[in-house]
Symmetry: C2
Subunit: 378 residues, 2 copies
């Protein structure tokens, strides 16, 4: 990537069980707040991208690109991107291409999911659409079950203890305590994780991120536009995505995710940085094991050590998916929103001292689609 | 748009009730045939975009971007685009941006829909996700019902006769007779249309396009890549998309579609042509009335006259949605495939003499999302 992409505006709604807000309400709230934050007018927008996984399944509503432009009352192109839990990250990628192609100066990216209006068992089945229907869904697997397989293998190969794994959730819950938008504000200890109900052995309830409602929004622009409006302080300086097989049975290894490795190596190179230069990371801890593997695939810990060692970087200062919540389509977008808050020195009680370079890691399926963004203050 | 986008390869499967082919089978067939047609290797591809509306609803499978890269056995970014019946057209738009941004040299775009494995009533309800859930779905409307409202109003305003409307279906069925991939090979006469069962008065069964299974695929590249490989014969020289409100109740007019007008005006300007310079048009005749309104919005007929007058351009030489079939996510892609066949002088029994410039018009919802592509021989 030759040119940086400026981030002009950010927003996110409260995450949680928001039974008084519809899918449309969440999109509207996030979009108008982001416009306010960016100090832009509707006429400044050239295109809009929406990251969403389950609109048709959970709310009877497809066509969310047009819904989102309709909410704003504009006729610009609106596109819905679906890449399972990486829908937000991939929407951001399409938005960046729209700017770099010269088609757009200013683009809005909205991530949204409304998950708690349906039966949780139905939702769990619907989310299996992210995996291979033929090979995994039809065998009766659920997402926690697939991550349980990965966890068992990782434990055996690297000697990970249940207590080490539990510590991931404990720390993310501590981080989320002071994030006002987080879904879950609850201090937990290692024994809480170990003693919580088993979802798919060895994973317990507190190893798993919750189903949440919520939306987040980002307004991006070309560097030219940002410089002209003196808003070029924070930029995306590296971005990449990669895919791997849907079915775990087709992989060479289940204790590392190739897509994260490919995407992060490419993003580091674009940004011209090494992993040790990062200050903060928002990564995809859909399950505690996912965080451990991500730390290794992102080259922040040596292979097999992420469960025991700590990193120089602050990981998931916002609370991560575990505590902040995981409205699927919103996750890839809110990760970048959280990094920008930190880089603006505007994260209030959860501000990380002197944060200048951050990385966002968003994952769909069990390591199937991965996006990586590197953001920095210029 | 400063640079053209070259079209290196095309393919499409048979359209129809393909009970022996799964969603995965259709994607695989289209993708490998397009690679053959383009004479490219897997390693030449930099990114992949999939247009699909209902994978999760009809096949339990989301995450089709990664499914499509998985089928090829590559780790490149794969993105699923959903914009109701304009999913294919919008996928093409994201693919073009990926090339113009400099992120990719060669990109694959696959459109696919597997519609006939589910109960038709369930499918009709699912397709209502393209409209406004709050305002239209909850009022009990179906898509034929919404187009029936538009038809009644158009009839009243412009004196359209049922016979004029029926002629649209008659001609599209004639065109499709010699297209080997078409879903429906059946000559019909005006009286057949008028006497077929009413779906939503005044629209009869033969005013409506069928539900089909099918896939289509296009391989695009930068002009630089195409010139280097001496494959720069056919290019996309204009492209644009626009949106309008989801709910019809919010529109200024129901007898014309603003999104088609905005997108086509922009595409004509980019291509540096006027509508009369077009030789062939593949347009979105989901309902007979939709074709009549599209002809006027594309400035091929004066307002109110498209039901009575004929055009210089050959409209839907492939049979259109009515006869070729309408596997929703594939439609926007196959329209371009059909134009390329004509421009290559390779359309066999349905070849249009001397076709040099073509337009593809893809629509999602009742005029809610519209994409327009202008393709020409260079």
């Amino acid at each position: 990537m030759n040119k940086h992409i400026a981030i002009l505006g950010i927003s996110c709604t409260k995450f949680g069980e928001l039974w008084n807000q519809s899918l449309t309400d969440l999109i509207a709230q996030a979009q108008f707040q982001a416009l306010d934050d960016a100090q832009l007018l509707l006429k400044d927008l050239n295109a809009l991208f929406v990251g969403n996984m389950c609109g048709e399944l959970f709310s009877g509503q497809s066509h969310l690109g047009a819904l989102a432009t309709d909410i704003l009352g504009v006729n610009i192109p609106g596109t819905r991107i679906e890449a399972a839990c990486a829908s937000g990250g991939m929407a951001l990628s399409c938005a960046i291409n729209s700017i770099l192609s010269g088609q757009s100066d200013v683009v809005m990216v909205t991530g949204v999911e409304k998950m708690t209006d349906v039966d949780p068992a139905y939702a769990a089945t619907a989310l299996m659409g992210a995996s291979s229907f033929d090979h995994e869904h039809m065998s009766g697997a659920t997402f926690p079950a697939l991550f349980a397989l990965v966890t068992r293998l990782y434990e055996k190969r690297y000697g990970l203890l249940p207590e080490d794994r539990a510590q991931v959730s404990v720390q993310n819950h501590i981080n989320g305590l002071t994030n006002p938008n987080a879904h879950i504000h609850k201090k937990i200890i290692i024994n809480d994780v170990l003693k919580s109900p088993t979802v798919a052995s060895p994973l317990t309830l507190l190893d798993c991120s919750p189903m949440s409602d919520g939306a987040a929004c980002i307004i991006l622009s070309s560097q030219d536009f940002a410089q002209k409006h003196k808003r070029d302080g924070i930029a995306i300086v590296g971005h990449a995505s990669a895919t791997d097989t849907l079915a775990l049975g087709q992989r060479e290894s289940l204790t590392e995710f190739k897509a994260t490795q490919l995407a992060s190596q490419c993003a580091y190179k674009q940004a011209g940085i090494t992993p040790d230069m990062l200050d903060i990371v928002e990564l995809h801890d859909a399950f505690s094991t996912a965080q451990i593997i991500a730390l290794e695939d992102l080259a922040l810990c040596p292979r097999g050590h992420a469960g025991k060692s700590s990193t120089r970087q602050i990981i998931n200062p916002s609370g991560g998916l575990k505590s902040r919540g995981h409205p699927v389509g919103a996750t890839g977008v809110v990760q970048v929103v959280e990094l920008v808050r930190q880089l603006r020195n505007n994260a209030g009680p959860y501000q990380v001292h002197n944060a200048r370079i951050g990385l966002a890691h968003n994952m769909g399926g069990v390591g199937t689609t991965v996006t990586v963004y590197i953001i920095r203050s210029l």
